[in-house]
Amino acid sequence: MSNYIQRGLVYQDMGNHQYAITDFKTAIEIQPDYALSHFHMGVSKLKSRLVHEAIQDFKASKRIEETPAVLDGLGCCYHARQKFEKAISYFDQAIEAKPYKVDFLKNRAQCYFDMHEYQKAIDDLDTALHHNNSDPQVLYKQGIAYFAFKKYKKCIKTMKLALQSKPFMTYEADIFYHLGLAYCRLQKFEKSIFPYTECIRKIPSDLRYIHERAKAYQMIEEHKRAVDDFDIVIKKNPKNAHAYFRRAFSLKALGVSDSRHLC
């Protein structure tokens, strides 16, 4: 049985949940009263978005042995189903049992964030940071919460700390993007150019980044550069009415009446 669980966990780690589920299912058939098999099955089902089935697996695990991880798993399931109050109640129980488990705090913070309870999300992430004050993902999530809470200076400070903590590539561009946005919301358009340029460098295909930089260039009256960025946005998304509208102002400032005359 343990071999199936071990192999299932390797598949789970690789993100191959279909194979993982098959292994955990076999482990459960061999020994139905082993709580961890049900727990791991729940995790893979949740990651496969089989949320209803995942709830059944976590509950089966809980019936055999109630652990903080199972309670957290149930919290994640109800969060995925947008049953926020129920999710919070499970997260509360998990955190009460293991107050400094960073993953539980991150999960509850995400749930509070989706409930627009930004201060509670920030508080949970603060607690997580007491445990490890340079966890880049926790800092990133807290920066996002500060942004949503319109605390732009704190967002900037936190995002800068996240960048110093060597964040993963998966969210590094978003850190730069939110830095740029926070500067712009504070009307510091000039300061937004560098972070926007960095996120564009990391993910050149994301038009949101290019469009926001174009807007910032326009605000600091760098109209030629603004037009260059608006051109890219329009070329890749010819239905973007806002980009046309804004480009018109930069062309007007440059004294060009028709975009085709620029080239």
């Binding site: 712009c184 919301r185 926001e212 326009q218 009415a241 806002h242 046309y244 018109a248 102002f249 975009s259």
Partner: protein, 42 residues
Amino acid sequence: MEDFEKAKTLDPMNPALVVNYKKLRGITCIVLCEPGDEKIFT
């Protein structure tokens, strides 16, 4: 003017995109939304 007209054509129900050309003199831009709140055009 061409871009203003194009914007209006693409999003005809958006009153913010309707401009009076005679009153545009001295106006460098019109803020359509907050940074990061861009509408998705598909």
